[in-house]
Amino acid sequence: MPDTGAYLILGLASVAVIMGAFVASLFVRQRNLTRDLELIRQLSEEE
């Protein structure tokens, strides 16, 4: 039986990175929206 375990680990790591990056992008965009909303709130209060 060939020893191909290292490629399996590489494959699993790549899946974790790709899906992790997508989920992280959702969180980052959500955080940026919250900041935008806060900025808009400040601007509208100043006017």
Partner: protein
């Protein structure tokens, strides 16, 4: 209602609905937990329960994610087609949001499919990449949907952007169908078919019955990667897009005061 009141209520709504797991709708919470548990069980089935392939060794286990992730991408891209058709029929923004979410999630799962395939190919085909018909069509599919996101962002007129995106999402499904059937219609492909007969030149085939637990592992990974992951991620992406639209509208309202 004044812009200040709108911003204030949106800010409250945002903090109530957007941030924190506790603020998600109950069904989304259940679905998210089910997805995490489902992925955990699917990984256990693929990595522990299923036996090791005698010819390929442990790398064959990548298949349990490789194939279901393509199915998940297919589900998400199909949702984009539904969103595109329905948007053109009704001009309701929610369908455009569904299409956008489907493309983003489908693209992420397609990239998983292509990358895991390349990693499997290195020890089995002795190369990371070859311009085989299946690999080429999968690459074209990924690039087509990446182009959707770039082109969409390049159109400033909102109505025009949504109309263009709807037509594009409908037409782009051709690349998915082509990727799906190409191993059945091109005899020169070396990509194996797990379900049904492989092409004569196929390298790296394996029988479902040859190794213990392959069918059970596949049976768990398919619903996890093919249904739970795309549906849950699309729902989260739709919620995010709805909030983006709300904030954009508020920005315009404040700036126009």
């Amino acid at each position: 209602m004044s812009a200040v009141q709108n911003v204030s209520s949106a800010s409250t709504a945002n903090s109530k609905t957007a941030s924190g797991i506790g603020a998600w709708p109950p069904l989304l919470r259940i679905l998210t937990v089910a997805t995490i548990i489902g992925i955990g069980i699917a990984l256990y089935m693929g990595l522990v329960y299923a036996g090791t392939d005698v010819d390929q060794g442990d790398v064959q286990r990548i298949f349990y994610i490789h194939m279901p992730s393509f199915f998940g991408a297919f589900v998400a891209f199909s949702a984009a087609v539904v969103g595109g058709i329905q948007y053109l029929r009704t001009r309701n923004v929610k369908w455009d949001t569904l299409a956008l979410s489907g493309v983003e999630v489908g693209l992420a799962l397609s990239i998983v499919n292509v990358v895991t395939g390349a990693i499997w190919a290195r020890p089995i085909w002795n190369t990371w990449w070859t311009w085989d018909p299946r690999l080429t069509s999968a690459a074209i599919m990924c690039l087509t949907y990446a182009a959707y996101l770039m082109l969409r962002n390049g159109i400033e007129n909102v109505e025009q952007r949504r109309r263009f995106a709807a037509v594009y999402a409908i037409l782009a499904i051709v690349t998915v169908i082509m990727t799906l059937i190409i191993i059945r219609i091109r005899p020169d492909t070396i990509h194996p078919a797990v379900i049904g007969p492989s092409a004569q030149n196929a390298q790296g085939t394996f029988e479902l019955e040859a190794t213990r637990g392959v069918g059970a592992a596949l049976g768990m990974n398919f619903p996890a990667w093919g249904l739970l992951v795309p549906i849950t991620l699309m729902w989260h992406r739709i919620r995010l897009q709805n909030r983006i639209e709300q904030v954009e509208a508020l920005k315009a309202e404040v700036l126009n005061q």
